[in-house]
Symmetry: D2
Subunit: 255 residues, 4 copies
């Protein structure tokens, strides 16, 4: 057993999935089940979790067995994010939250100064903050030292499916962090998730890669296996790369 611990709570799965972009709540629930995720992120501003006159996500994903992680998708200022999460806490009692303060509509990259500002306030108000961040190791360290409960660097632009662009930065963040590091954004297919875990990340968060696959439920299953594969490979310690069978060759070390 090799559980993921976030803010003192233990989870069997290292995969966190989003709940947006699915055909309907039924497909969402099926995909979440196939993924094995125990935490789902919910865009508080977009997903109905309180109006009983409309279909409610909570009817499909039982909040007693699945941890709801409210996020601030669509917030472009610290104030906006704060308002959103305070509201979520009032409505649902959630204090484990995912903070994202966006700075750019095209790439959905975070505004790091607003992110830091919001994180500081949230922590002071007793929130447990999992934070979406750029892959700049300096800001990631600051968020770690400030008391965030998970550091969530982007692997590539949200919704791009490009895979991890800068493994050096992700690895630097892993090495310096004292709380879990989860790659958030950029994963496109199973091997991308495995690579994130092989770099030593503690988990992966994704939405589009599953929801926009041709068969989302099967892709969710793929991702479940991919995260386990990458985690085991990281812990197992991979073989060294050799250039070819004969290490005495001058090629060794060149390419």
């Amino acid at each position: 057993t090799d559980p993921l611990q976030i803010a003192g709570k233990t989870y069997g799965s290292r995969l966190i999935v989003g709940t947006g972009k699915y055909r309907d709540f039924e497909q969402t629930a099926e995909a979440v089940a196939a993924s094995g995720a125990e935490i789902v992120t919910v865009a508080v501003r977009r997903v109905n979790v309180s109006d009983p006159g409309q279909p409610m996500l909570t009817d499909y994903l039982d909040p007693k067995s699945i941890t709801y992680l409210p996020n601030t998708a669509g917030c472009f200022t610290a104030d906006d994010a704060l308002r959103t999460l305070r509201l979520a806490r009032e409505a649902g009692g959630w204090d484990l939250v995912k903070l994202e303060v966006l700075g750019d509509k095209a790439t959905l990259y975070p505004d790091m100064r607003e992110t830091l500002k919001a994180a500081e306030v949230l922590i002071s108000e007793g929130f447990k903050v999992m934070v979406y961040t750029s892959d700049d190791p300096l800001f990631a360290r600051e968020l770690n030292d400030m008391g965030c409960v998970a550091i969530m660097p982007l692997g590539a632009p949200i919704g791009s499916g490009l895979g991890i662009q800068n493994p050096v930065n992700i690895r630097l963040i892993v090495e310096q962090s004292t709380v879990p590091v989860l790659v958030d954004a950029g994963v496109g297919t199973a091997s991308d998730a495995a690579i994130a875990m092989e770099l030593g990340c503690d988990g992966v968060l994704m939405n589009t890669a599953i929801a926009e696959a041709k068969d989302p439920v099967r892709m969710a299953r793929a991702m479940k296996h991919a995260v386990e594969a990458g985690r085991h490979a990281y812990l197992a310690g991979r073989m060294p790369k050799k250039r070819y069978a004969d290490p005495s060759s001058p090629l060794a070390g060149l390419i």
Copy 2:
């Protein structure tokens, strides 16, 4: 259920593992079990499967539940390979075999002409030939058309752990083949195996990546998940890669 079919027989696992380079037969057996493999390759010339005075692999891996696939590791001519496999058939009754005729001691790349020659004779003698080949799609097609029961292109030099060097060639081979294609050689870690499957391969064969990991049994488990991850991802149909969230940008299509 999505079984692998080779020469009319059906297998639940798409991972084939070697039996060399382990500490002892106990570790071999543990790793094979963790990998979920139903087929293991055995270097007929190196592994004791017949001398009851010595420890025998068959005492650790039951040939009734695990398919033994005799291979010709160490053979550098067609004649040598033929001799080896005829002997194996006499000794163990095996006719499903893995042919490899090496052409180079440093890289362990195949000698393609000797490989073609040996494959032809073996097929004429009733063997079911799974064949190790370079990633040249022309030779792979010839081996397919000749009646080999599985095409096994190398992803990188045997024992190198470099991962698939030429995905274009692997994909070309997948597209043209009418029998299963399994990447054989070159996988170093879990994501490499996932990538092979995402290219549409029907399976993966590996030995060093597991046996030379720091914790071989855990790496075997990683590989089991990786192959399933990659297979599901392939069948699920991955999301398209986007450049970033706004597809109208001039970057789209450039990088």
Copy 3:
């Protein structure tokens, strides 16, 4: 003719080189000459440009024909950087400067907040600021909008020679900038410099790749050609990538 224009001045070469890490000033001068660079960066705190009792760089590189670009290498705060550049302006009259405010001794990544702070003050004091930045497009845009005369994102950690890690970010910065973009840091060999230029960068700055090559002077010549090669290729408009000769194949678009 396709000159580089920075702060209203025109340069024939798009390669800027550092002056550190060479064996001696003679080698520095030879390498600069071979590189064709018309701008050299000088670490004001490290290089002797004023004590006539010691060997002086100005005796080897004539400041009349080569533009000296004082930099703030080794400064870890905005104040430190400001002090250094004010001193440089007093000493040498230089107002075209390269600002770098480091945030981390291991990676030499910039401290973006201190960088922004220092840039703002410098611009208000009449400096023309070429600025070393992370590859975060949001900060790069801010520096552009603030009035910096060149944006210089890192391709990889200073002195790493890893080549451009995140071409998507570099390209995003190129697209949004109204002043020249020069990749600063990370280039290891000629093709890395060509790739930077093919992404649309206006120039490249490097030091270690030349100074720590076995033959620095020849590598300087390599870099001169590489920057021109990449620039011409960018302007020429490369052929589209095809999957293989027959575009009707199902592989097209898959890999």
Copy 4:
């Protein structure tokens, strides 16, 4: 001075260019001039070099200053290639030839057995054979040992512009060869050519990358610089790749 020597003759340029796919002979000549190439390949079956009633390539590219290298583009058997080159020798006296025997219309990959057969005959008839080959190091070695005067492995499918797919194989071929190795096919832009040279190749041959660029003449100039850049970088000996400035970090060696 670092000339390329092929079959006893010395060339100042390491770039060989094709003459197909241009708008007209004028553009061909302009591009060749810009490339600095001293050798051009000519598809004997396609290009008019003998009918004085039609425009002739020789009117645009003077065979006295440019070496014509007849090739067997479009030949799918050894016999076909032999016929073509014998005819070329009769017509133009050329005995330095480029042999390519194709095996596949989609990828234009070589048929290696027919290639070997044709090479053997041509050498016995006194031709000096520069030979297009797959990147299989075993066949490349055989062609080298047989007496070919240059080994020309493909980097990627002809006309694909994908860049070198398998640098390990190219490097293996460079290490084992006693005659010049030139990457033939697959280059798409300047950095691809630089990479080929940085691997230690003696030269590069290309056609589509130049002819199908938006501005072929400028791309020719880019390629001239790229080949020189890569050559100088190879001879200069690049700096070692570091993980980041502080080599004591645990990241060193991991990524």
